[in-house]
C-alpha cells in the first residue's frame, strides 16, 4: 500500500468524501478514496485485526453542522470522577477520556479496531508489534506526540501504584519502547492477535509523558478541558487543532451526572439536557411519545448471569446446573424485566454483534419438566437452596423472583436472599454457591474469555475449570488466520454452553435518549453513547 493510500485510510471515509466533494473533487478522486478505504479494511484483516465493513460501506449521511452547545447527563457522577484514563471506572469517566484523549486505535461499529493515533500497527507473530505513530498530532498545549508519550501511557497501567483498572490486561505488555522517531515497539508476554482491539480500550488512551496531576487533561482529543469539578460537571470546548479534519462539530459539551433515572428523563424532556444514557426500558414509551425526542437502542454484549459455582455441595453437580439453566424463562425475562430490549442468549457469553459469534447452537428454553428431571438426577431433594440477588447486578432481583416462581414446578426448594447493592461486588459476588453477576461488554472475545472463563481467571465466576478450554483460548489468541480463529472461538462457545457454570439468559441493550436535533449518533456495541465516544461524532441541527 503506498503512502497516499495510507493517508486516506486514516480519516474516516465519510469525512474524507465530504472534504473531497466540498472542494469539487473529480469522480476519480472520490473513487480512489473509496477504493483506499476498501483496501484499508482488506489490509486491516491482513494485519490480523480490523473488522471488515467499517470502512467499506460509507453511509449516506446528512451534512453535519458546525457549532452549538450541548449538555449531556449520564447516570453516574461522584466525587470519584477522574480525568486519569487508567482509573476510569464508570461511563462518565470513559466519556471524559474520549473527549480529551485519543487511543492508538479506536473501536468501529463491530468492535473491530481502526487506527487512531497509530498510523499502522503491524506484527508478524502477534507477539512483537510495531506501532507507527501519526505525524503532526499535537497535545492541547502544543507539544507534539512522541513515542515517549505512548510508552509512558501504556506502561503506567502495569504499575500497582497507578491503580489502573486495566492492570491485568496491561500485565501482558512485556516491554514497550521507542524504536524510532515515530515508532514504538510493543513486545507481549505471549502472542495476542487482539492487541489492536485491546489498545482501543479507554484505559490505554494516550496521555503526555510524565503526567501525574489529573486536575486537568492535556491530551490530543477533540475537546479541551474548560472546567472539571468532580461530581459536579465537566466542560469541554472544541479543539481547533484536532487532527481529524472537520471534527468535532460541537463547540462546547458539558457533561453532568444525574443519578436518578426519572430526574434524568425529566431533564431531557424539559430541554435542560440534550442527551442522556441509561434510560430504563420503562421510560422509553414516555420519551417516544413526546415529539422531538428519540430513544437509541445499542445492542451490547452486557449480561446479568446466574452463577452456579462449582464448589463443594450441590452447585458443583452438573445435573443441578443444567436444571437451573432450564429453569430460566428467557422470554419472560426479556419481556417483563427488560421490556423487550435485548437479545435472548444461550448460556455462553459471546453475543450476536460479535464477529466471532457462532450461530446455530441449539437454544436452551424454559422447560420445568427437563429441570425437574435434572434436579431429580442430581438428588437435590427438598433441601433449601439459597439464591443471592442484588440490584447491583441489573435485573437480578427480578430474575431471581422468576426462578423462585418456577422452582416448585420443578420440585426445587429455592429461597431468594436479596442483598443491598452497596458493597455487593466485594462481599457477595462469587462468594455464594448460587448468585448473580453482571458483566459489561468486553472489547474482544479473548478479553471476555480470559477474564471470566479461563481456569485461573480471578473472576472465573462459576469456578469452572476446563483445560481444554484454556488450551483453545491460547491457540485462538495466537492464531493469525481469522477464519481459523473464528472456528476455535465457535468451539469454545459450544463448550461453555454445554458444560459451563453460568446461565446467561439474555444480552442487554443500552438505551440512550436524545433530542431529535442532536444527530450523528451511531452505535458501537461496547456500550451506549456510541461506546462512550459520541463527543466527536455528533452535531446539532436547528
Amino acid at each position: 500500500m503506498d503512502k497516499e493510500n495510507l493517508h486516506y485510510a486514516d480519516a474516516p471515509v465519510g469525512t474524507e468524501l465530504e472534504r473531497l466533494t466540498r472542494r469539487g473533487a473529480s469522480r476519480r478522486d472520490v473513487l480512489r478514496a473509496l477504493a483506499a478505504a476498501g483496501m484499508a479494511s482488506l489490509t486491516g484483516a491482513g494485519l490480523l485485526t480490523a473488522s471488515s465493513g467499517a470502512f467499506a460501506q460509507p453511509q449516506p449521511q446528512p451534512q453535519p453542522k458546525q457549532g452549538g452547545k450541548i449538555r449531556v447527563a449520564t447516570q453516574s457522577s461522584s466525587s470519584a470522577d477522574t480525568l486519569d484514563p487508567a482509573k476510569g471506572a464508570l461511563g462518565t469517566d470513559y466519556v471524559r477520556g474520549n473527549m480529551f484523549y485519543n487511543g492508538l486505535t479506536e473501536f468501529d461499529s463491530h468492535l473491530g479496531a481502526k487506527m487512531g493515533l497509530a498510523e499502522s500497527l503491524e506484527s508478524k507473530d502477534a507477539t512483537v508489534w510495531v506501532v507507527k505513530l501519526r505525524t503532526g498530532v499535537q497535545f492541547h498545549d502544543g507539544k507534539s506526540l512522541t513515542p515517549a508519550d505512548v510508552v509512558f501511557s501504556l506502561m503506567r497501567n502495569k504499575d500497582p501504584a497507578t491503580a489502573s483498572k486495566a492492570k491485568t490486561v496491561a500485565d501482558q505488555f512485556k516491554e514497550v519502547k521507542a524504536t524510532g522517531p515515530n515508532e514504538v515497539t510493543i513486545t507481549l508476554e505471549g502472542a495476542n492477535a487482539d492487541l489492536p482491539v485491546i489498545l482501543a480500550d479507554s484505559h490505554f488512551l494516550i496521555i503526555k509523558d510524565g503526567t501525574t496531576d489529573f486536575k486537568t487533561a492535556v491530551g490530543t482529543g477533540p475537546y479541551k478541558v474548560k472546567d472539571f469539578s468532580p461530581g459536579v460537571r465537566t466542560v469541554g470546548v472544541r479543539n481547533e487543532k484536532y487532527w481529524k479534519p472537520g471534527l468535532p462539530h460541537i463547540d462546547e459539551i458539558e457533561l453532568i451526572g444525574i443519578s436518578d433515572e426519572s430526574a434524568r428523563v425529566n431533564a431531557l424532556l424539559s430541554g435542560d439536557v440534550q442527551l442522556i444514557n441509561a434510560v430504563s426500558p420503562r421510560s422509553t414509551e414516555r420519551i417516544k411519545s413526546t415529539p422531538g425526542f428519540e430513544v437509541l437502542e445499542t445492542k451490547t454484549g452486557e449480561y446479568t448471569d446466574l452463577v452456579v459455582r462449582d464448589e463443594n455441595g450441590i452447585t458443583g453437580n452438573d445435573d443441578f446446573r443444567r436444571g437451573m439453566f432450564y429453569l430460566q424463562d428467557r422470554e419472560q425475562i426479556k419481556r417483563a424485566v427488560f421490556r423487550g430490549f435485548g437479545t435472548i442468549a444461550n448460556d455462553q457469553p459471546i453475543d450476536p454483534t460479535n464477529k466471532y459469534y457462532l450461530a446455530g447452537i441449539p437454544q436452551r428454553t424454559f422447560d420445568p419438566d427437563k429441570a425437574k428431571f435434572y434436579f431429580q438426577k442430581s438428588k437435590v431433594g427438598s433441601t433449601p437452596v439459597q439464591l443471592f440477588a442484588s440490584p447491583a447486578a441489573e435485573g437480578s432481583v427480578e430474575m431471581a423472583m422468576l426462578l423462585q416462581q418456577a422452582a416448585p414446578a420443578a420440585g426445587l426448594n429455592l429461597q431468594v436472599t436479596r442483598v443491598p447493592a452497596d458493597g455487593y461486588w466485594s462481599n457477595h459476588w462469587m462468594k455464594h454457591p448460587l448468585g448473580f453477576g453482571n458483566v459489561n461488554a468486553r472489547p474482544s472475545a479473548d478479553v471476555l474469555f480470559t477474564q471470566f472463563f479461563k481456569s485461573d481467571a480471578p473472576w472465573n465466576e462459576a469456578n469452572w475449570k476446563s483445560p481444554k478450554f484454556d488450551q483453545m483460548l491460547l491457540a485462538a489468541r495466537g492464531e493469525p488466520d481469522d477464519a481459523k480463529r473464528k472456528k476455535i472461538y465457535g468451539d469454545m462457545q459450544v463448550l461453555v454452553h454445554e458444560t459451563g457454570g453460568v446461565g446467561i439468559p439474555m444480552f442487554q441493550s443500552s438505551l440512550d435518549a436524545h433530542t431529535s436535533k442532536l444527530q450523528g449518533l451511531g452505535s458501537i456495541p461496547l456500550a451506549g453513547l456510541m461506546g462512550f465516544a459520541f463527543a466527536e461524532h455528533v452535531w446539532l441541527v436547528s
Binding site: D81, K165, T168, I258, D260, N427
Partner: protein
C-alpha cells in the same frame, strides 16, 4: 446578661469540641464496620488481591485503625483535614466548593419557610378550633406526610416538563440575574419548605396556645387589648424560646438531610458529597463532612438557646 451569655457560650464551645471529638470517634468506628474499604471500592469489580493490597498501602489503610484515627486527629488540630482518597483533592477544598451552595439553599429555604411557618402557627392558634385551624392543620400535615421525592418529581413534571416555566435542574453556572436565581431555586426551596414548614408551624401553634391559656393573657384581654395586640405584644415574646428551638431543629435538617432534593435537582451541595464519600469509603471526606454538619447543628442549637435567654427577662437578669 453579658456575663451569663459569655459563660454559656464558653461552656457550649467547650462542650461542642468534646461533642465533635466523640462524633468523629463514633463515625470513624462505624465506617470501619462498613463492608469494604476505599481500595476495594475504588477498584470495584477489578479488585484483585494484589491490586487491593497495593492501593491500601498507598492510602495508608494497612496501618492499624487507632493509629489512623490519631493521625487524622493530629492533622485536624493543625487545620489539615487530609486528602480525599477517591480523587486526591484536599478535603477542605472539596468542602469549600460545596458548602456555599448548601448555605445558600438553606438560607433561602429559611427565608421562605420561617415566616410562612410562623404565620400558619400563630393564626391557627389564634383561631383554634375554627375551620381555618383545621384546614391549615390538614394541609401542613399532608405536605409533611408526602415524601419529598414525590413532591419534587411532581413539581418537575408539572413546572419543567409540561409547562416549561422552570428548569428541571438547579444549575448554578447559569445564574446571571435575580430572576434567574428565583427560577433556579423555586422548586428545590418549595420542596424543602413542604418538609420543614409543618413541624415548625405545629410547634409554634402549641407554644402560642400554651401561653394563650395562661392568666396574664386573660388579664390582657380583660383590660381590653385587641387579639392582635395580645398575641404580638404579650404572647410572642414568651414563645420565642420554644419556637427558636423548633426552628433550629428544623433548619439543621437543611444541611445533611437534603440529599434527595440535591440529587433530583442535581444541586451540588454537601449532602450529596457526603453520600459519595460514604459510597467510596472515603474516610477523610466523610469525617470532614460530618464535622461540618455537626458544627452547624451545634451552632444552631447555641443560637436558639441564646435567643431564649435574650427573650426571657428572668434568665437575662441572672
Amino acid at each position: 446578661m453579658h456575663a451569663h451569655a459569655q459563660r454559656l457560650i464558653a461552656a457550649r464551645l467547650g462542650l461542642a469540641l468534646l461533642t465533635l471529638l466523640l462524633v468523629s470517634a463514633v463515625v470513624f468506628g462505624i465506617t470501619g464496620l462498613l463492608p469494604g474499604d476505599a481500595a476495594q471500592q475504588a477498584l470495584g469489580q477489578a479488585a484483585t488481591p494484589e491490586a487491593v493490597t497495593a492501593l491500601r498501602h498507598q492510602f495508608g489503610l494497612d496501618q492499624p485503625a487507632l493509629q489512623r484515627y490519631v493521625q487524622w486527629l493530629f492533622h485536624v488540630v493543625t487545620g489539615n483535614f487530609g486528602t480525599s482518597l477517591s480523587n486526591n483533592l484536599p478535603v477542605s477544598e472539596l468542602i469549600a466548593t460545596r458548602l456555599p451552595n448548601s448555605l445558600v439553599l438553606a438560607g433561602l429555604t429559611t427565608l421562605v419557610s420561617v415566616p410562612v411557618a410562623l404565620l400558619i402557627g400563630i393564626s391557627s392558634a389564634m383561631f383554634r378550633g375554627s375551620l381555618l385551624d383545621r384546614v391549615l392543620n390538614v394541609l401542613t400535615l399532608s405536605t409533611v406526610a408526602v415524601p419529598e421525592f414525590l413532591i419534587a418529581t411532581i413539581a418537575v413534571l408539572v413546572f419543567a416538563v409540561k409547562l416549561r416555566w422552570l428548569p428541571a435542574l438547579s444549575y448554578l453556572s447559569e445564574v446571571s440575574s435575580f430572576g434567574g436565581l428565583l427560577r433556579i431555586y423555586a422548586m428545590p426551596v418549595m420542596t424543602l419548605c413542604c418538609v420543614i414548614v409543618a413541624q415548625m408551624a405545629r410547634m409554634t401553634r402549641a407554644a402560642v396556645l400554651d401561653q394563650l391559656n395562661s392568666s396574664y393573657v386573660e388579664m390582657a384581654i380583660l383590660k381590653g387589648a385587641s387579639p392582635m395586640r395580645v398575641v404580638l405584644r404579650h404572647v410572642l415574646p414568651n414563645t420565642i424560646g420554644p419556637i427558636a428551638n423548633a426552628v433550629a431543629l428544623s433548619l439543621s435538617y437543611l444541611f445533611g438531610g437534603v440529599v434527595i432534593v440535591e440529587s433530583i435537582f442535581n444541586y451540588p451541595g454537601l449532602a450529596s458529597l457526603m453520600v459519595d464519600a460514604v459510597t467510596n469509603r472515603d474516610m477523610p471526606l466523610v469525617q470532614g463532612c460530618v464535622m461540618v454538619f455537626c458544627a452547624a447543628y451545634l451552632a444552631l442549637v447555641l443560637i436558639a438557646d441564646l435567643a431564649q435567654i435574650v427573650s426571657n427577662p428572668r434568665l437575662r437578669q441572672r
